[in-house]
Symmetry: none
Subunit: 200 residues, 4 copies
Amino acid sequence: MARRAGSNGAETAEKLRNAALELFARSGYAAVSMRAIAAETGVQAGAIYNHFPTKQDLLNDLLQVHMETLLSSWEEAEKPDLAPPAALENFVRFHIRYHLTRSREVFISYMELRSLEGENFSAIEALRRKYESFPRAILEKGASDGSFDIIDPQVTTMAIIAMLNGMTTWFRGNGRLSLDEIEALYVRLVARLVGQKKED
Amino acid sequence: MARRAGSNGAETAEKLRNAALELFARSGYAAVSMRAIAAETGVQAGAIYNHFPTKQDLLNDLLQVHMETLLSSWEEAEKPDLAPPAALENFVRFHIRYHLTRSREVFISYMELRSLEGENFSAIEALRRKYESFPRAILEKGASDGSFDIIDPQVTTMAIIAMLNGMTTWFRGNGRLSLDEIEALYVRLVARLVGQKKED
Amino acid sequence: MARRAGSNGAETAEKLRNAALELFARSGYAAVSMRAIAAETGVQAGAIYNHFPTKQDLLNDLLQVHMETLLSSWEEAEKPDLAPPAALENFVRFHIRYHLTRSREVFISYMELRSLEGENFSAIEALRRKYESFPRAILEKGASDGSFDIIDPQVTTMAIIAMLNGMTTWFRGNGRLSLDEIEALYVRLVARLVGQKKED
Amino acid sequence: MARRAGSNGAETAEKLRNAALELFARSGYAAVSMRAIAAETGVQAGAIYNHFPTKQDLLNDLLQVHMETLLSSWEEAEKPDLAPPAALENFVRFHIRYHLTRSREVFISYMELRSLEGENFSAIEALRRKYESFPRAILEKGASDGSFDIIDPQVTTMAIIAMLNGMTTWFRGNGRLSLDEIEALYVRLVARLVGQKKED
DNA sequence: CATGAATGAGTTTTCATTCAT
DNA sequence: TATGAATGAAAACTCATTCAT
């Protein structure tokens, strides 16, 4: 058979991306077969190859797009003129909101980095390091202007990011705390980590 | 052929556990074949089945042993009479030291939890929740006796654990900081998170 | 999209025939995909089916055209009034020149005969047998009029053809011998095979 | 299931070699699937990989073994003290007998050389060139001692080999001519090609 | 206990072919 | 006529697992 009436390339690619995202997040890249992705989207396994040359490319596409969207979203959300405490709060709120609405992307971008081969791996890792440089810059600025009392900027940055990302593994919107409450809570926790002068 | 001269059941099982640990940590459970484990240990794939009934059992064995060792190690390290600040410091130091010497076990116990089926999954998760209850208990005690100023005990516990575990992904013994320095550093970061009164 | 500016049915079919000829000769019919032929010509695989109903038809077309051209070329080159020695020389020169300028066609017409299905196979084989009857007729005439001393007309015919065709697998125009020299050389070899009376 | 009682590695490998030989000769390497070979031998497709790492290795094994057996058989059949005419007759008889009893090996060693990749290709080609050097040496010796009147040793060698090999494509043991008759016939044809002085 | 051979279902990917546009 | 998206079957190869030896 051939193209089904009403089918459309861009739409199918998007359906595939979505299904792969969901399945990779749930079961892991290696455990998900092209057939499983096909079944989820209602196309034949072979048809996937019209849109992504290999399974690896499908993963890479997801991670690449995720990291680039993350970076460009931050560039929009960033307010360069803010003083370090407000800048850090802005980052924490951005990070939480962004990550909670893309929890699957975030999850696989950490879990499946190792499933990327060669150049794909390096490219994503570089983007991630770039993202991590944003909070570090804020911390360093706050350390030098005296608004923070940082124990070790490098370690504190990693601690903050690990702390924030950890939340995506247990937070459920319908639990005890709302997104707003979580955000406020983490803003305060981070403020403590950086030794911010007058907290609450 | 039969048993190779000098080979021994318990030894082989241990070699297999080690190879599986290494490979699962490096590539993920689903991406590692029984043949790969066999190749790493120098036995044939079929021989693995003399020691572990299925691949799933091999993973389960690793995680089960890890969690039980973790729990019993903590029970030895725990000093029930310490006041909350010292108790928390004790926990942080224990956790870091334990996790940095078993980074592969820790890694797969987080990453491959989802690869466990049914009961295996529940059993490990229960053990993990039990482990997480230890710091939470310390936090709660410190909150009620006034030695800590905790924002939210549940969230803070998760934040502490995420922060500590995050370290295993970037810490390398031969880097800028020694294990002792890292320990001291995280003790102070955690103290800040719980709002400990007089830090250093 | 529709027809690309400047594209034209007959032209495209010819491009396809050429690409298929080249690829079938290089890698063999079974090893060449429609997509490979498409890639070589810059069209999409689907477009091939506007010109050839199946892959098998494409091969058949090549072989059919080749054999028919070969036969009609010989009918033009044949000089029915020549005495057997001159007639045989004429055939050898024709065969060599024709085959060296169509080495790919010749090659696949021998190699891929078996890839033809049913009737296609029989049709080509019949044409080939017809072609082989020409030298055999010359040999038989020469045997009966005493200008040749043939050991076995049937076997000698096959021997001559095999000998001549073998050349297409190793002869390169830019080697030690020119086409003219090769021709002259094989004329003498064939004359020996048929026991021609006064050779050079 | 596992190994079937009575099954045996060396036997299975031999069965596979035989089936592959037959099928490759009949349909060509590219057109034969591992499943087809499996079906012919009664094993599962996957089991083939216990004996040959890839399909390419299976072909290579066949050609390698064939060429090496051919060379060592000739070394046994060769009688180095014979004068060129007798030596050439010896070679022709050897070649015909050997090739007619291994027509499938011969066939694929010519047809599927191109299906060999890289080093495999070069190795087989080198062996073949070595084999072709044997008749050439005889021709050269006969040319210099005056027992032959050779037109061009290089071309004549190729012509002889092509002529002899051509026979495998049409000779059937149950046809008009017996193997002995064919042999005798080709001995005389070859004698003519090399301009041997007093033929019958 | 270990080996090596086997199974049967699975993997990613490619194929010839079709057809809406 | 050509494109690009689709199908369904098949390709080579791998997998977890089993079992005779």
